[in-house]
Amino acid sequence: MSTLIVIDQPPYGTWAGREALDMAFSLAAFDQSVSLLFMGAGVNWLRAAQQTNGIEQKSVEKNLSAAPIFGVEAMYADTLACAQYGLTPEGMVAGVTMSPNSAELMHQHTHTAFAG
């Protein structure tokens, strides 16, 4: 079984992305194969240099950097969505694989789930 957790909402404005990340970490904690796909406005999770001291929320960059350590297999970013938001590999957090065909990626996984 392999699960793809999809995040299509930006960070901070809603909690759905954080709750999606918790789902991925839980699967990994149970030694289940899990990857993350960022698409739509969700690719903004991956923008480098997020400084959250002004909004009383923890930076999601730290959460993301912990993903490989917790056993999340891959973090994919939808190529088209990155282009729409002006995100280039240099402007993104480390460890992200570009996904030129996210529909195909979903079909390659047994489960695909959103957090909300």
């Binding site: 739509g40 406005a41 529909a103 979903m106 079909h107 047994t110 489960h111 695909t112 789930a113 959103f114």
Partner: protein
């Protein structure tokens, strides 16, 4: 009953960004089930219908004034939805 590769279950109105994401992810051999506000797509779906069989929950369609729109989608009840989820190899709830 034919097999379905992925059953896409969509419950968002046509304007919702996830509707476009769902439509982009549909491939040959998949099926699309419209529930809740997604049945409003029945007034918009036409030539550009996806390459998949389209179903819609009848009670949701009728509640929203689409009792007669059986041409663009097969109206189904919840027992049929259960069957579709059993037939499909994969499920995605958008």
């Amino acid at each position: 009953m034919t097999s379905i590769h992925t059953l896409h279950i969509l419950n968002k109105a046509p304007e919702h960004p996830r509707t476009a994401e769902c439509m982009n992810a549909i491939r040959s051999g998949d099926a699309l089930l419209l529930t809740e506000n997604a049945v409003l797509a029945l007034s918009i779906l036409d030539d550009q219908a996806p390459m998949a069989q389209v179903y819609a929950i009848a009670s949701d369609a009728i509640a929203r004034g689409f009792g007669q729109s059986g041409t663009k989608a097969t109206l189904v009840d919840y027992p049929a939805m259960v069957k579709l989820t059993a037939q499909a190899q994969h499920l995605i709830s958008w």
